[in-house]
């Protein structure tokens, strides 16, 4: 055979200078370690870092397309000001310098800070630097700060943290290495995606059984051993029925429940008492922590009398009804759970969920029998908080995972609480084969940060006395005025959504536009596409952004948008700050925020620039530190009044949570010479040491501290010393939540302290149930379900992250537009053809789109990929790009508010406990489009033009091949 001319092995540029640098990916929130290969200074190849604990060398479709993000034509490169005289939304901008930009911001913000700091609202989207942005807001003195958690998955965080002191997320997950069965409920593809994909792959190869409970079989559910379709928003009913079956058959882990949960604690049953429903407190008991007294009672079954909880030799009754010596009727918490689920039979759940009672029983038995009969025992001695020494760590190999599928419903908090309780019943919390925590969790129930407590906390030129966000423990922690009305622009921590730990970003624009509770002056948005896919009710929100008062002033007077790309939202900015890409900046995944810890110990990570910023791009971190310095915010200013930090990297190294605390943003290589971990004085070479170690720091706990960390004495002491926890008291699982009962008592007028406004009493009393329960999503009650019989959902495709990736020339080839997936029978019954044009309509609006028949969706559900649809011309795509002409957003059908009550009041379309946006609740109907209608999606918007400083987009063709050819025409 003649030899080839083209050498298939030779480098195309053998003389090029090459270089490899490590950093952390940001093509999604997963934060994998990456190695970026540069050739002649250009990014040529991005691979997973094999030494990185999170992804161990693997990388996803997005991570592998980082090049096309870096060199995207949608990049903003210049600070831009809305052209004087042009209308907001017209997308007409002029370039200005950073100096002018800072002058504008400094003048405006200094005035607001000196007069009414809450007129400045800072909301961030896919933010991984809340430790900094939150500090900035706090130091500025505005409470109007949050990230996107309110419309992401706060129900998941809150529902589990208020129950087990930890959560699925980066803060905990399923131990698939040792699990035997794994139940994934609802869509959960997004967070921690690569490690979870790897873990599921290994789990299946090892013979584990994977059951997916989901209205749709896509994503990970595709490879499940069994798919159980369920009606959206009914997961709580399923879980309640499983709990009932587990209790009924005695398949609960009694030893675990008795010792590590509050199942045996006695609950006051005296309805006439102000303490009704609260835990009985033992005056002679050990309080442990005055801020969170632990002096509970058990009813000892051996001596048949009330005793101090965890008294040596005692064993609590879990069932029954008792009378205390003072005559107070009491019941163990577990008895109350049993009573709660008594009617939640599988037959009851079948009617709600669409899952047959036999199937419900079968999976309950699978869970219970596997947990009971496949117990794992590891020869790891450890000591529990009460001093009992255990020879081994044991675990029950039943693992769960859930995320947004449960969270994005208005009943999500209670549903997720029921899931956490089921996991506890099976004895799987922080044990091998079950759920495992990741540092800084477990934390107290709830964690110690509290929101500001009233309007007096907001004072001119004064920082808030705490973080703007927190975890209310009682009604007195709510952020309301003397009338019980909200103080925050998003009404977080008010009686409408008391436990809204992540705020309600989804209501900020509507509230500010309406001036309810008050108007703001400046709204700063970072990396959030609020005029498009990040808002519900998108069409109306876009109108609010340009709406004016009678005097001609915009209802939201000044909007600042910081983003790396031109999006639908930048068109509505008065000032655009061009952010860098992730390859151009320093960043940290801090233990104070959202680290990347592993089950066996804390891990944090950094980004280090691998290429210089494009044009005038400046990292938002630097902008914040600069602004903080100009505004002389105390934490950023020396006592002499000079600027404390030279910039972001300096801030990261030298900032301490309190002077001399030794706790800063990064936990690794602390101490003068980097010899200390977790805690130690600032180390001026910290960044270099991170860089040398592949941009992450990993701390391995000793095996005796890797499990049972809610109650593990050794871990507790270490965690307190390391600054992960303030206290070292045990974190007993809340099977019964007296915290919720406290809110209910307030709503019933039985509790002194803050009271809800009368019109909210019934709402609070209803939903703040100390025991989990299932209720239909709120929108169901206010929808004509006969007219709108279907649920509509979105899922995130694994090759796209929100709206970020349509400007990515490779990823948009995979998902150029989207269809509405409809069960074949449902579509045929509606007279809609496969691939045909159709309307999907809710009570809020309608969208024309294309139909795709599917056998992988339950008949009552329609769904599509989220955030593929784009506004014409946005992201520097051509005006006729598929994303705008065939792609669509379901957001137009979803309202950020529920229909008005009888009194005209509109609540946020959110979970009444946490304020989690209920964007999976929407009900729709479908029908074919008429033959004469245009074959494009509806609604359509005025096409956007490129703004100054944006690169020319390649027309015709391009080939990404530096230095040789292929620039395109």
């Amino acid at each position: 055979m003649p030899s080839p001319i083209h050498d298939p092995i030779a480098s195309p540029m053998p003389d090029a200078s090459t270089e490899m640098r490590t950093t952390t990916c940001y093509m999604c929130a997963c934060r994998c370690g990456i190695r970026v290969h540069l050739r002649n200074g250009e990014v040529r190849y991005i691979e997973g870092n094999p030494d990185h604990p999170l992804n161990k060398g693997v990388i996803c479709a997005k991570g592998g397309s980082g090049i096309m993000k870096q060199y995207s034509p949608a990049r903003l490169t210049q600070p831009l000001r809305r052209k004087p005289g042009s209308e907001r939304g017209a997308n007409e901008f002029e370039e200005i310098s950073w100096e002018e930009t800072f002058d504008i911001l400094e003048t405006r913000l200094a005035h607001l800070r000196a007069t009414d700091p809450k007129k400045f609202a800072l909301f961030t989207g896919r933010d991984q630097m809340q430790a900094l942005t939150g500090l900035f807001a706090r130091q500025f003195g505005t409470p109007n700060y949050a990230a996107h958690g309110g419309f992401c998955s706060v129900n998941m965080a809150a529902g589990m943290i208020y129950t087990i002191g930890g959560s699925f997320w980066e803060f905990g997950g399923p131990d698939l290495e040792r699990a035997k069965v794994f139940y994934m409920i609802g869509t959960a593809e997004d967070h921690h995606s690569n490690p979870l994909k790897s873990a599921i792959g290994d789990f299946k190869r090892n013979g584990g059984r994977f059951v997916a409970i989901n209205p749709v079989r896509s994503g990970y559910a595709a490879i499940a051993d069994e798919w159980i379709p369920i009606k959206p928003g009914t997961d709580g009913a399923l879980i309640m029925a499983i709990i009932r079956e587990i209790i009924a058959l005695g398949l609960y882990d009694r030893e675990f429940l008795a010792r590590y949960t509050n199942s045996g604690q006695l609950v006051n049953q005296d309805e006439s008492s102000q303490e009704f429903g609260m835990m009985m407190r033992n005056p002679a008991g050990d309080i442990l922590n005055p801020l969170r007294p632990h002096n509970f009672y058990w009813w000892d079954r051996l001596t048949d009398q009330p005793v101090e909880d965890h008294a040596k030799g005692a064993d609590p009754m879990l069932f029954g009804s008792h009378v205390m010596p003072d005559g107070t009727p009491v019941k163990p918490a577990f008895q109350l759970l049993k009573e709660r689920v008594a009617d939640c039979t599988p037959e009851w759940a079948e009617k709600i969920t669409g899952i047959s009672a036999d199937t419900i029983r079968r999976i309950a038995h699978e869970m219970g029998i596997t947990a009971r009969d496949q117990r794992i025992e590891l020869p790891i001695p450890w000591t529990d908080w009460w001093g009992e020494e255990h020879e081994s760590v044991t675990g029950n190999p039943v693992a769960f995972h859930a995320m947004r599928g449960l969270a994005a419903h208005s009943n999500g908090f209670q549903t997720i609480r029921s899931l956490a309780i089921l996991m506890s019943l099976l004895g799987t919390i922080d044990r091998p084969g079950g759920f495992r925590h990741k540092a800084p969790y477990p934390r107290a129930i709830p964690p110690n940060a509290r929101p500001p407590k009233g309007p007096e906390c907001v004072q001119p030129n004064t920082p808030l006395n705490g973080a703007p966000l927190g975890w209310p423990e009682s009604p007195d922690d709510l952020f309301v005025d003397e009338k019980g009305q909200p103080v925050r622009i998003d009404k977080a921590f008010s009686w409408e959504h008391p436990l809204s730990a992540h705020g309600l970003m989804h209501n900020v624009i509507t509230n500010a536009w309406r001036g309810d509770p008050y108007p703001v002056d400046t709204l700063m948005l970072f990396m959030a596409n609020m005029a498009w896919n990040s808002s519900m009710n998108t069409s109306e929100v876009r109108k609010m952004l340009v709406d004016k008062q009678a005097d001609g002033e915009y209802k939201i007077p000044f909007i600042v948008v910081c983003d790396a790309f031109q999006s639908e939202t930048t068109a509505f900015a008065d000032l655009i700050l061009p952010d860098t890409t992730y390859l151009e900046r320093h960043d940290c995944m801090s233990m104070l925020d959202r680290p990347i810890s592993e089950f066996d110990g804390p891990v944090d990570a950094v980004r280090i620039p691998v290429v210089a910023p494009k044009g005038e791009c400046r990292p938002f971190q630097e902008v914040i530190v600069e602004l903080a310095g100009r505004l002389k915010l105390p934490a950023f200013t020396t006592p002499a009044g000079t600027r404390k930090f030279k910039g972001y990297t300096d801030f990261v190294v030298n900032y301490e949570t309190a002077p001399g605390s030794g706790i800063g943003l990064l936990a690794g290589w602390r101490g003068r010479d980097g010899e200390k971990a977790m805690r130690g004085e600032p180390n001026q070479n910290q960044w270099e040491m991170y860089e040398k170690n592949g941009c992450f720091f990993q701390y391995h706990l000793p095996p005796s501290s890797q499990y049972m960390r809610n109650w593990n004495k050794g871990y507790m002491d270490w965690a307190q010393q390391a600054g992960l926890r303030r206290d070292n008291d045990p974190i007993v699982i809340h099977i019964y939540s007296e915290l919720l009962q406290g809110f209910r008592l307030a709503a019933e007028g039985k509790r002194p302290g803050k009271q809800p406004p009368d019109e909210l009493r019934e709402r609070v009393a209803t939903y703040f149930d100390p025991l989990p329960f299932w209720y239909a999503p709120l929108e169901d009650e206010q929808s004509d379900l006969k007219h709108y019989p279907l649920n509509a959902l979105t899922q995130r495709p694994m090759a796209m992250y929100h709206s970020w990736d349509s400007q990515n020339a490779w990823l948009r080839q995979i998902h150029a537009y989207n269809h509405l997936y409809v069960n074949t029978h449902t579509a045929e019954a509606a007279g809609i053809s496969d691939g045909g044009w159709m309307w999907v309509e809710s009570q809020w609006g309608r969208v024309r789109c294309m139909c795709r028949y599917s056998e992988a969706v339950e008949p009552g559900t329609v769904w599509t990929w989220n955030a593929i649809g784009k506004s014409s011309g946005a992201w520097n795509l051509s005006k006729d790009a598929n994303e705008s002409k065939q792609g669509f957003l379901l957001n137009h059908l979803i309202s950020e508010e529920l229909p008005a009550n009888a009194d005209g009041r509109r609540f946020s379309n959110s979970d009444p406990i946490t304020g989690q946006a209920a964007w999976y609740d929407v009900r729709v109907r479908i029908y074919p489009a008429d033959a004469g209608e245009p074959e494009q999606t509806s609604p359509q918007f005025e096409p956007m033009e490129p703004v100054p400083g944006m690169g020319q987009r390649k027309m015709g063709w391009q080939a990404w091949f530096a230095g040789k050819k292929g620039e395109g025409k």
């Binding site: 003649p2 989207n818 795709r852 056998e855 598929n882």
Partner: protein, 300 residues
């Protein structure tokens, strides 16, 4: 398959040229009276024009025509390489044949036989390019070869009859009759192949394509929504009505009309038949169902 126009012109033009040459040669071989050299010289020029046009058309099919010379190198395995050799060889022989007639060099029968052999070889090479693709059952059959030969000869002979009308009128009736017979034969053989192809059941199914035994498999995504080479090259992309129209044109222009005209108006018959052959070749591509299309059935 998506009909490639360069290939439609290539195969029909050289096919007619080859057929014309064979007709010329048989005229020389069988003619009772001597014929004017002009008939052979002009005829050979016609053959060369047709072959050259075909060769030029084929260049448009190539991404890198400047490397076309390389296409002769793999003659041991590739019918395309063999065609690349056979075509110029045939043309050279035809040139020699015409030159011999023109200059009175003689040896025209020997040269002619060589050229006829090369013509047949070229027919085989061209046809085998298609017939050798095993995965295309519509093509991978001796009928492909038969049709290429018969239709080439029919169109070439029809053209020969027309050419004789100008330069050797006494030959025209016989040639027209031969064209009639060949066209009728072509109608028969092409009809058989059309019927066969219509009744073919594909060897590959979605089940074998992805290796999953289930009667109901529906593609939901090709992994690329803006199209790809695979969605362009292997589908004709036309409506069933359009395809039926081409089939009608195929039948009428290639066969029915020429059969009714060739005895009287052979030039018109040739023009129609050539147009019909373009339709025939278009249909030849369009009716070939490539198994790769199993992977490109749906998208979302």
């Amino acid at each position: 398959m998506r009909p490639a126009f360069s290939v439609l012109f290539l195969t029909t033009l050289i096919g007619a040229g080859q057929g014309l040459f064979i007709a010329l040669f048989f005229c020389e071989l069988l003619a009772s009276a001597s014929l004017s050299p002009g008939f052979f010289v002009g005829g050979s020029v016609l053959v060369l024009i047709l072959s050259s046009l075909g060769g030029i058309a084929s260049v448009f099919h190539l991404g890198h025509p400047e490397r076309a010379w390389r296409a002769m190198t793999m003659w041991r395995t590739s019918w395309l390489a063999r065609e690349g050799i056979a075509l110029p060889a045939f043309m050279a022989a035809v040139f020699a044949y015409g030159f011999a007639h023109w200059t009175g060099f003689g040896h025209t029968l020997a040269i002619g036989i060589t050229a006829v052999v090369l013509s047949v070889a070229l027919f085989i090479c061209t046809a085998m390019i298609y017939a050798a693709i095993k995965v295309l059952k519509e093509w991978a059959h001796p009928l492909t070869l038969v049709n290429f030969v018969v239709l080439g000869c029919a169109s070439g002979t029809t053209l020969a009859a027309a050419w004789a009308g100008f330069t050797a009128p006494n030959l025209m009736p016989e040639l027209a009759l031969a064209a009639f017979v060949l066209t009728a034969l072509g109608l028969l053989t092409r009809s058989i192949s059309l019927l066969r192809n219509a009744r073919l059941s594909p060897a590959s199914t979605l089940q074998t394509a992805i290796g999953i035994r289930h009667p109901k498999i529906v593609q939901k995504s090709q992994g690329a929504m803006g199209g790809s080479y695979n969605t362009r090259e292997f589908f004709h992309g036309k409506s069933p009505a359009f395809v039926r129209g081409v089939l009608l044109m195929l039948v009428f222009c290639t066969f029915v009309l020429p059969l009714s005209l060739v005895l009287t108006l052979p030039l018109l018959a040739f023009v129609l038949q050539y147009a019909g052959l373009l339709a025939e070749r278009w249909y030849f591509f369009a009716e070939a169902r490539h198994p790769q299309n199993l992977y490109y059935q749906g998208n979302s």
